[in-house]
Symmetry: C2
Subunit: 147 residues, 2 copies
DNA sequence: ACAAAGTCTATTAAATCCATAGACTATATT
DNA sequence: AATATAGTCTATGGATTTAATAGACTTTGT
């Protein structure tokens, strides 16, 4: 499961993406609208800024802005940034590769083979979803609901 | 990532599946061969037995046996049993469904839509892998290595 | 000068994970 | 019947991670 932190990060980014044409967005505003503890959110946004996803401005009229286009912000990337590997075992992770301590032979491990298939399928899906796509899908779902 | 417990469970089952024609298999034997702390393994095997995957015999000549055919033991099931949901958010989990506390409208949530696609892709892969398939793949990989 | 806003580091409380201890029960063998 | 073997069960402890908060600091617009 995603940690709350990761979910908060995604929700916050979605909120910012939706209001991105306008002025910088306040932490307090995101916190209230998305029901995220403000102090916790601060540290999350900081992390996203350090990664280059967000840009921030201090002082009056300050706040957060996207530093990339929504279509270039991939949700798999966000999840990995906050929660670490998506793969279920370290020995099949690209970004966080690390041999499994117990395994003798990685090349012939049947379980690893299965986990690799799973990772590949997961990545394929995650690659399809950028922030832009999430927002687009959401408005589409809302429209088809109203009818 | 899988917990150690889940990985131990899978490794232990794989070991038992490989030796299933013969007499019941000792906890101690699995522990030594797979490098799993014995006491920890006890509790894991107990859990698998309670779920009906394993059968046990007490006393002399006792030990553990599979209670199902390897082809009917699905690794997704094992992972869910030990670690809980595979889905990344509770609101798209079949087995552990639970609405996301923060979300207002599940039906129109863009993130949920993405997570649902991911869950479906994951399940599709996991359904392909039974214990039998894992063991088969492992021996196949070993053969092609020797050539 | 001052108020608004983000920055940074440290700390805490609760939960979860990994592992172990120890007393108990059932079974086979002699 | 006695004994050794092997699983059962409950409780507990330490380590790590997660979620959240505190508080002092910096930057910027007016």
């Amino acid at each position: 499961m995603l940690s709350k932190k990761a979910k908060y990060a995604l929700k916050a980014l979605e909120y910012i993406a939706k209001h991105n044409d306008e002025a910088p967005i306040l932490i307090a505003e995101i916190s209230e609208n998305q029901n995220i503890p403000k102090k916790f959110l601060e540290t999350i946004l900081l992390e996203l800024r350090r990664d280059g996803i967000l840009e921030s401005r201090k002082g009056k009229n300050g706040g957060y802005l996207l530093n990339k286009k929504p279509k270039d912000i991939n949700i798999g990337h966000i999840i990995r940034l906050i929660d670490g590997p998506i793969a279920l075992v370290p020995c099949v992770s690209y970004k966080f590769y690390h041999p499994c301590s117990e395994c003798e032979n990685e090349a012939t491990c049947g379980l690893r083979y299965a986990m690799k298939q799973l990772r590949e399928a997961s990545n394929k899906i995650l690659d399809r979803f950028s922030l832009a796509e999430i927002v687009r899908k959401e408005t589409e779902l809302k429209k088809s609901r109203k009818k």
